[in-house]
């Protein structure tokens, strides 16, 4: 009965006294998933630290730092913060705006190069 009614109103669950399915609440995922992600975060952090420990330099260092950082951030946001299971309307609203920071980074890189050049030209003691 209740099911037929729900279909009539185009509703599932909430307005109908609880068929078992409607009781699934919030974000429920197997504990194992969290443990696996936890393990990966440890491995990635160890990787980040070993970059410094073994003293890698140059583009290899920066490339690895950025890679490990993005992988860790991705795992935390997607699994621990459950963004992977949210609707895209929320995910895009939260994840797209921070990309604007990259525009800001570009502007400030140009600006700081200019500032450094000015400082070298104006304040350095001549040869």
């Amino acid at each position: 009965m209740a099911q037929a009614e729900a279909q009539d109103h185009g509703l599932h669950g909430s307005a109908v006294p609880a068929p078992a399915v409607a009781h699934v609440e919030g974000q429920q995922h197997p504990v194992r998933l969290y443990l696996v992600v936890w393990g990966w975060l440890f491995i990635l952090s160890a990787g980040s630290y070993s970059i410094d420990y073994f003293g890698l330099q140059g583009y290899l260092r920066w490339g690895l730092i950025i890679t490990f950082m993005m992988l860790k951030a991705g795992l935390i946001v997607a699994v621990f913060m459950h963004m992977a299971w949210e609707r895209l309307a929320l995910a895009y609203a939260i994840l797209v705006p921070p990309l604007l920071i990259l525009v800001f980074v570009t502007i400030m890189v140009l600006e700081s190069d200019y500032t450094e050049l000015t400082r070298i030209l104006s304040f350095s003691v001549g040869p």
Partner: protein, 240 residues
């Protein structure tokens, strides 16, 4: 019933997936975030604004470091500790990273057990998270003390560019404040879980929706964000 409808929006059959879903959600009446409660949506929006705050801190640090003509102090040496008869580079920061990641792990488990209505495990895991957070803050206090006794000030330091001190105190200080607030927030929420406030729908701060453990998840979002920010600080300030 009305409470349930307000708390968890019904997943109606009309919800569409993909890009079409984004357009449909945003152009619909009254609420764009269909299956997300107001509490969670507001926490996400707060975290977005906090992202911009930390983004600006890291940006100003980048600008200072790129534009100074004085060499930047080597964080690998500055944050080394003398252990077992030798200097181990950056070891304190590495331990702090592992502590914070572990706290994120316990928090994720707490959220999980909350939704299973396992009050005891949820509260214990949240208290464990708070303890790890407090450990992190204590280690940061130790780090600050060490650097201050070595002569680091916001306007000067013994090793190079003066902006090192100001960036360091500003960025880690603000992050440490976030962790401290998180620990307090964790203790408050853990107490409510322990007492069964969420089960009974007791009156009070965020507890009036009976039988819903979503507040534990919202608390978790804040805590994971603190960990997330540390990932970026670790990469850009300590490793770069």
């Amino acid at each position: 019933m009305a409470e349930t409808a307000l708390g968890h929006a019904d997943r109606t059959a009309s919800q569409q997936p993909g890009l079409r879903g984004i357009a449909a959600d945003w152009s619909s009446d009254q609420r764009a975030f269909k299956n997300v409660s107001w509490g969670k949506a507001m926490m996400w929006i707060f975290l977005l604004s906090d992202t911009f705050i930390f983004g600006c801190f890291l940006l100003s640090y980048m600008t200072a470091r790129m534009s100074t003509t004085v060499p930047w102090p080597n964080p690998s040496e500055v944050f080394a500790l003398h252990l077992f008869g030798r200097d181990i580079p950056l070891i304190l920061i590495a331990i702090m990273t592992f502590v914070l990641i572990s706290s994120s792990g316990t928090m994720a488990m707490a959220v999980n057990f909350g939704y299973r209505h396992d009050r005891r495990k949820t509260a214990v895991l949240m208290l464990l998270t708070a303890a790890l957070g407090a450990t992190f803050v204590s280690m940061q206090a130790f780090e600050w003390t060490k650097l201050i006794t070595e002569g680091v000030r916001p306007w000067a330091n013994p090793w190079g560019a003066a902006q090192f001190g100001s960036s360091f105190f500003m960025i880690t200080g603000f992050h440490g404040t976030h962790v401290t607030i998180g620990v307090i927030f964790l203790l408050v929420t853990a107490r409510k879980v322990w007492r069964g406030d969420y089960e009974a729908g007791a009156r009070g701060f965020f507890t009036s929706r009976r039988g819903q453990y979503e507040n534990v998840e919202i608390m978790g979002l804040y805590w994971h964000f603190v960990d997330l920010v540390w990932v970026f600080i670790f990469a850009f300030f300590y490793l770069w």
